[in-house]
Symmetry: C2
Subunit: 533 residues, 2 copies
């Protein structure tokens, strides 16, 4: 068992300069947890980023194999935390044990995936255009380029995935795989989980001979810590998962810097589901129960939680609503991540209950225990007019609450899809014929979301090469980038071009002999062959 | 000969709502040119972008072959403007005829390169991860993704490349190749050139059956037009080449929108040259003359113009400075793009002449004719102390003026490289041994620039796959993106992901049979083969 100290982890040192401290609470009891955490000071933030900037030179020159080993050993060390990590995460988040174990597996699997990506190496998008010294009217120079790490990355962990989107989440491991040092801001709702994981990463860094400062973590619950990290001159980019309000404030700060930096924020979204007539006929009941399952997964606290469902008014649609209502009634209330989130959820649901044109059709029958921050599941129903009169329904209420909209006509579906803000996902349940019949709807959704799902549900994101978890604003701050899947790494690299550069001084990926054996674009052709001159 | 009308080109219509008009001037005479141009109104801007948004659905569904044809026919039509275009460009910019002809060739060659890129098709980065319905504990869905056009793009042409970085520059042609409609803001210093080229593009759009609104152009010399374009809700992204002041203002406006959009600004830079001892010994005189040639190319009005040269104090370095000074003296003054740029240049040079520690060592012997907006070439010399006392020297003065800094020691080179702001390029003249001896300097420059040049000069950018024309701020607003070379297209596309999507409704690039024959990442392997199931 590791004894927690509640201090900043700055390279190999610990630090607790501030007397401003905080404790996390166990949401299932409301009681404070024992460890006292110290708010990071300006000078601690400065030390972490200065050390990261210093480490950047040596770290980016480590081999891909060395970085892969670092990630793999870190994954091993996170696993080696064993039951202590699981118990700590459960206590801080109210997540049940299987969820914590599963999420740890996703985190370590993801780290090993990025280790493999680094090792394989083709992700650097190496390009080589050869010289033509005799070209007329002007000689052509030798031009080569690859994706190069940008520098220290600040990572803001998410509250809802304390293991998979936090200290050792995709942001951290993709930045490390790219060759960027990382400074994490621990999430104040699960600071002990963060400390354990950070210490495992630091142990791995030491074991694998990484330069000091390649990883640091600071604690904080005030805006000042986040702002200080984003505004620090050595910060090259930042990745964030959280609320629209917090994300936008930090995004604005990142852009207002004398030297603006990319701020990649994933801020959640409403993730509409469209249930088309053919699918309703074939399997309306099954879709209704899948919908409730998706809605209540992780107590509705997933970024891709489905907040709105659209269908065409019909007998089948009414059955669908009844099915969903029954599902909601049967759903057991469960503990949310922390009292603040629970409070916001309760307020959001209360506001909906007072909106005219909106009917509560299903609610968990079992009572929700306020003292345990438990959330019941709520399903509302409205019609096209109701949605037009209540545009607030387009905004996400974080938690297991959702609204089904019965529309008179396919054109209403298109109207509502057009009105919708950017979203991470949209799901369509239909037959292939439905899909062909609603091409206009798809045309609109293509502009509005990052991921289109057919006959499935948005929650439960596959971690893979093709995944895209990023949609138009406000789903994310920059829709070109994902925070899940191997494309993550693109957030932390920029092209660096070498012109006329001697072979001996080029990065391996750009040398004629292709010693890494990676796929490259040579003279406009993709090949793993050495350069033939 | 086309008769110019000076109106907005909004799809197939012309429009001149405003009585606020302007005329361009011939910089070689100072006289106003005849055509009267109408400032675009808010409603004209709105019409152009509304039409572009409407065209976006049909345009992105055109085949890559159709888009390639559109670009090729547009290149043909630009060439078909013949001598009228060349004469117009010469009159508006003071560029000599061979430069205009050469630049037209670069523009049309670039358009054909993007046509070829679209046709080949692998740039979409198609990725396929196959379903595993029986995977435990959860089935794996079929996930596919590709880069997808984002929507209407606003393009701000540059003053210094009226043909290659303007209406039909890389911004426009890469956006069109990607499937994004384009609305260009014509440059007020060469509005007639813009009108001719825009009409050629519109002619090509009509000939190749493109949807109306795929291309529009508005005129304007006030900030309101630029701001209106960036703030319009249908604008999905914008590309800009120009000054730091103008670029930053529009960048801030793009980020302050309710829905922020990417604003890709290339804002020029100081492009340092480091002349290392081995190279100085071998060929100091040759480097000095190459330097002056690069400095005076296009009357010093290239984004990559070398503003600072560093070397270690020595007899050879003194000879180098003498050589550069002689080169400057021999350089003929020439007409700058317009009176405003000429005025800023004169002011910049005057300020330098009054800085202590800075010595003017060479200046064009022939007199510069103010009435023709002519600029002389100026080379200043200073030492390490002089640069430390005059940090303004790190800022670009647009035009043929440059400063040589004699440093006592290699550590000064590193200090100055560290002090430097982000730059598009850095050039090193040296032997391979010099390069190995100055690894610390290279380590710093890798963080500071987008392109590293060995034994060459930064001006004269090769248009190719590997080129990167984009450096850390303030060289560009987002250093991850280039404005020259095929990687340009990445600025206008975002990943779009399809999960469980039926084959018949997938984009061709993601269908099992790979009908486009493109390179794809299938199950983590790069291949052009069809998907084997």
């Amino acid at each position: 068992m590791l004894e927690l100290h509640g201090q900043q982890l700055i390279g190999n040192a610990t630090s607790a300069e501030s007397d401003d401290t905080f404790q996390a609470a166990n949401p299932t009891t409301g009681e404070s947890l024992p460890t006292v955490f110290h708010e990071a000071t300006e000078s601690e933030i400065d030390r972490a980023l200065t050390l990261a900037a210093k480490a950047f030179v040596a770290f980016r020159q480590t081999s891909a194999e060395d970085r892969a080993r670092f990630l793999e050993v870190a994954a091993d060390e996170v696993e080696a935390l064993g039951q202590q990590l699981i118990d700590t995460t459960m206590a801080e988040t109210g997540h049940p044990e299987p969820r914590c174990v599963g999420e740890r597996g996703r985190a370590t699997g993801q780290a090993r995936m990025f280790a493999q990506l680094a090792r394989e190496g083709s992700w650097v998008d190496a390009r080589i255009d050869l010289a033509q010294p005799d070209r007329q009217p002007l000689p052509k120079p030798d031009v080569r380029s690859l994706k190069f790490p940008v520098g220290p990355i600040v990572v803001f962990g998410a509250s809802n995935f304390p293991l998979a989107i936090s200290v050792f989440g995709a942001d951290t491991v993709s930045a490390l795989a790219a060759g960027c040092p990382v400074v994490v801001k621990a999430h104040p709702a699960h600071p002990a989980t963060c400390e354990l994981v950070a210490r495992a990463i630091l142990k791995a860094a030491e074991q694998t001979g990484m330069p000091e400062g390649v990883f640091s973590m600071v604690q904080g619950r005030t805006n000042a810590v986040g702002l200080g990290l984003v505004q620090h001159p050595e910060t090259a980019a930042a990745a964030f998962t959280g609320s629209l309000r917090g994300g936008r404030a930090l995004f604005d700060a990142a852009n207002a810097r004398p030297v603006p930096i990319p701020f990649y924020a994933e801020m959640g979204s409403v993730n509409p589901i469209f249930v088309l007539p053919g699918a309703l006929k074939e399997r309306g009941g099954e879709i209704a129960s899948g919908y409730i399952q998706s809605l209540t997964l992780g107590v509705g606290q997933f970024c891709t939680n489905p907040g709105l469902v659209f269908g065409l008014d019909s007998e089948e649609m009414s059955s669908f609503v009844s099915g969903a209502a029954e599902g909601a009634k049967a759903a057991a209330p469960a503990t949310m991540l922390h009292a603040g989130i629970h409070h916001a959820f309760t307020e959001g649901v209360n506001a909906m209950q007072h909106r005219s044109g909106l009917t509560l059709v299903g609610q968990s029958t079992a009572p929700a225990d306020e003292a345990k921050s438990e959330a019941a599941c709520y399903v509302f129903e409205t019609d096209a007019e109701g949605l037009r009169n209540n545009p607030e329904l387009y905004e996400e209420v974080f938690g297991p609450v959702s609204t089904v909209v019965k529309c008179p006509d396919g054109s209403d579906l298109e109207e509502f899809a057009s009105q919708m803000e950017g979203s991470l996902t949209a799901s369509i349940h239909g037959t292939e014929e439905d899909l062909a019949n609603h091409r206009g709807l798809i045309d609109i959704l293509e502009k509005k979301v990052g991921r289109l799902i057919f006959n499935g549900f948005p929650t439960g994101i596959e971690v893979c090469h093709a995944m895209h978890h990023g949609g138009p604003y406000p789903a994310t701050a920059h829709s070109y980038f994902t925070s899940i899947g191997t494309r993550c790494i693109d957030r932390f690299v920029r092209p660096l071009c070498f012109q006329g550069w001697p072979q001996s001084q080029l990065p391996e990926e750009l040398q004629d002999t292709n010693p890494r054996g990676i796929l490259r674009l040579v003279e406009g052709e993709y090949t793993k062959d050495p350069v033939q001159k």
